[in-house]
């Protein structure tokens, strides 16, 4: 049950409400986000909602049968639009395109990519500075030095930065240089990281786990929301199956399902999905038709020289063809 509180609820009214919930054997979780205050009530047994419905200080009240509550479409039927400032939004009529290299490599590469994005009117640049790598001996990213350079060139050009955060302690140092925090597939259920990302104001893109269920992705989003941050993006990036004709099984089924279950925007990542350059654009377009609000895609001036993920990274020319087609498909659909 979600109880939306009025902005000016008195402390007496709030105490009364919490006491009543307690009497009804409903466990309450207070949630205060950048936009609103809520109480999430988890009832132990059945109860009569009329006992609460008319209490002072309540704006609205919704029963939500899903395991996740605040991210459910059952109480919030309007789709969430994430506002990044400077007229950059995600979740509205326009398709959000996020493009850039797998890893930030050096200043020249950043500048080069920024020019590519500007030319194509792309407003969000992706690029990793902390890289989760299976082997401890592999390149693990440029870290904060890379991020500062990355942010500098982007912000000077009106481009927003999305980059992966891997652990709690990085959040504070990164927060001023990041427009969207990305939580990677391996951290999709890193609950401490999700908790802390609920305490910042930056939007958070959560990737579905390597073999994460749709329910689990929504539960992870609930962690962020219930800690205070309503700005959440869900990302389908492929799941692990027995098939090895491609990198991961990009699960486009997840897109209409997520949009039916949640009010949050959904992003598709075809690069980590199918993972083969020649098919990335095809799957991106299929993702747009499946209902994605945005596409996140790896591009590089010279993919074959990229520090990581070269085989799934688009050449600029391929990417430009994709941007054009994706936007045109999106317009035709909306």
């Amino acid at each position: 049950m979600i109880i939306q509180l009025s902005k000016n609820i008195s402390s007496t009214a709030k105490s009364n409400l919490l006491n009543t919930l307690n009497d009804l054997q409903i466990k309450s979780n207070e949630v205060k986000t950048q936009f609103q205050d809520y109480i999430i009530g988890i009832p132990k047994t059945d109860f009569d909602i009329r006992n609460i419905g008319n209490m002072e200080g309540i704006t609205d009240i919704h029963r939500v049968s899903d395991a996740y509550k605040l991210v459910s479409k059952k109480w919030k039927t309007n789709r969430t639009i994430i506002d990044l400032g400077d007229n950059v939004t995600i979740g509205g009529k326009d398709l959000a395109i996020m493009a850039g290299p797998c890893s930030i490599e050096n200043e020249e590469q950043i500048e080069n990519t920024v020019q590519h994005l500007l030319k194509n009117n792309i407003k969000i640049m992706r690029g990793g500075v902390y890289k989760p790598r299976s082997s401890p001996y592999a390149f693990r990213g440029l870290g904060m030095d890379g991020l500062k350079l990355f942010y500098k060139h982007c912000s000077e050009n009106g481009i927003k930065v999305i980059t992966e955060v891997m652990q709690v302690s990085q959040v504070e140092e990164m927060v001023d240089y990041v427009d969207i925090f990305q939580v990677g597939a391996r951290n999709s259920q890193n609950f401490n990281l999700l908790d802390i990302l609920g305490k910042v104001d930056n939007p958070v893109l959560i990737k579905r786990g390597m073999s994460g269920t749709i329910e689990e992705l929504l539960a992870s989003a609930e962690y962020v929301f219930s800690n205070g941050n309503e700005k959440i993006l869900l990302c389908e990036r492929g799941i692990r199956t027995y098939e090895n004709a491609y990198r991961n099984t990009l699960d486009l089924n997840a897109i209409p399902i997520l949009k039916a279950k949640s009010h949050l925007p959904v992003i598709v990542d075809p690069s980590h999905g199918i993972g083969l350059r020649e098919h990335v654009a095809t799957m991106a377009l299929a993702g747009v038709v499946a209902g994605a609000d945005g596409v996140i895609v790896e591009v590089h001036e010279q993919p074959e020289k990229a520090f990581s993920d070269g085989q799934q990274t688009l050449y600029y020319e391929q990417a430009e063809d994709l941007y054009r087609k994706a936007r045109s498909l999106n317009s035709a659909l909306k």
Copy 2:
């Protein structure tokens, strides 16, 4: 290695060829289809292709490194177009739409569906008369009586029939009442059935196995081709994964991959894929964008009364909206 033989190869030339192959320790498999004669050579060791290349009676010769040979795009770069007669083709510029109920139920239902198809200019009707069911106590289809009725109404109206064949012994009795034989997911590696379907002239649509790999689907197609039938359709219908938010994980990645590996047309089955009525059309359209040459979809006048698969079957109105959008997307793409 695929050796294409000239139509009028002399028996002496052929013997010479087979002897030479034998001398080179190449196992030969003679293949005679409705269109052409081939020898598939499986070499035990490396050999010098010049020893064969100039022999009499050979039209062309191709090394194919894939495990499958005749269905590979490595030797036949033109895409295969299946001609069903009466100007109905699959694999060309137009999107092939196959629609109809899960099960054929009675004559009224057939007539009703035929009218729906005629109205929408759909040329191929699907409908099961032999149904694979997990439980022996479930409805297993109307059998030959149903098929005859089904075929009668379709052929009178210029509509082609696609229906599932479950076993070798059914092929002979069904062959005159079927335009396309469908091999279901559970029979995708029923090699005896594939062998026999290689001996008829009807096109064969092979569904990917429940957890079939793309390689296995192509190997199954190779069974049909190498037994003499070049008219093959590959069908993606969803695979089994850990996710249970929907019926099967419709694997749209398989579509661009299959089209890159094989010259055969690829059909998408969103009904058995995502398996939820409200999302079937979305996934069908995504499949078209992924490159499908056709869509096979379940429709019923009253899905809630269907004998089987009701929850994934479209209402006529939904289906009509899908046909329109699918055709328009297909035109835009081609």
Copy 3:
């Protein structure tokens, strides 16, 4: 609901029963096996069992909530013991060991294997004469000629034969040369084949499908039983997962679960499971501890020269060590 009929039920009593079931909207399926007569009632709605319980000609009546009925432990709590004659049984106190090559190759190999089995007091020999192969160009077995030789040498030495049947039309020609029919993983849901195997008296070993669920395996067994054959063995042989450090994920969890759900004996196939010679014996022993009633294992005098599956086939010496340990573990447990 399973209604066990008395042997001498009068035709009037039976009609009365069927009519009553019909009146109660219970769909009846008559089942006549080599041992007993049953009616399986599938009710559409709830009903009062007292309306049936006291009718004439009924021995016993059980409600079974599982989707499968006759193979369920809910009505038959005693474990089924399969009697192969000559004091060879499966499902009792002794561990059943079935050993032999993947493929029957020639007479010498058969004789050699028979000597190995006799020396080790093994009473059942496995060996394929019809081989399901992904590629149409691979060796597909010696067929009936091989089977006749196989059976001759075994029967002369008191050894029972288990071999795979791939299609309906093979059953009749094979039936006199086979002691146990094996249904392979790819045919685990070949319902026509299961139907026909329900009409013979030979025991049938059904392998779990490549990605078959435990429920599906039991439903497949129900096909055989409900067609008239109570002599069924269930076989765990590994499932398909994302892991490729071994051939298949031998799912030992399935053994205690199958034994809790069904009264049928369970066999473990570690050769096709883990698929690596050095680990086959370990997994076989773990399978015995998990509760398997028998082990089916590939052995060959010279595995490296075997026509198929060499890398998962044991040397005689390894196999002998396994037989000894498996029997001793089994005795210790029972």
Copy 4:
């Protein structure tokens, strides 16, 4: 390539070595553990090992073709034995048993469990104080207060404590109250956590990820080892598959494979594996036969009242029966 350095290598000799490696285009990673110093060399191209082999200060040198190096059996063929002090070891002749509740709930429960362990001569108690839960509204453990109580009662009774650590910042506060750090399945690729656990002296048990490969588990262990901690336990706890007849597919195949690939001890967790109380003991025993060096199992005085995981938790009596059988099987095998 693993280069073991002699304890008293001179700084000149080390510089020479590093320079030589650099000249050979071999990337070096210096590793200093509680036991030894190493250099891990990752060569870019082929090189002649004789250029390094005779240099000063080197004890031994091994080429390791696996992606993981220090945890590989290719260079260290003796099995690792973890010494917890007070004569408690893991990885030797005796089976290590770790038992206790899913969650630490209160002091009484700790005392009660300790008595149960003492009675059964169990030297290691498991119990969660930080619980990863899919829902933010679920019980998340007693935290440090619980851990201190847990450790107090255990250490007073000569019992070692194993408990899950969820994030980097917890390591420091937990380190004095923990004998073995456990990394849960969801954190199996939390590389920052693994890094920091490489810097403590406590043994670390790493669970295989939810859909983790065996290679990934070993790579995660490599993180810990290469950061300086050689005391690592690998734990198989079930993987995610399509089957839902039980909680997870406990993959016993992983045990012989892990023991063949690595020198580290392997623990089996049947509670999270099959996840059904009535089958936990069976799978534990099968795991012992598969080669596990230890078993970690959930027990509770009253499982039905446990705060979490009750349905997979053993009653004391069941657990005692398991301890006895597991030890007797282990003795029989070794």
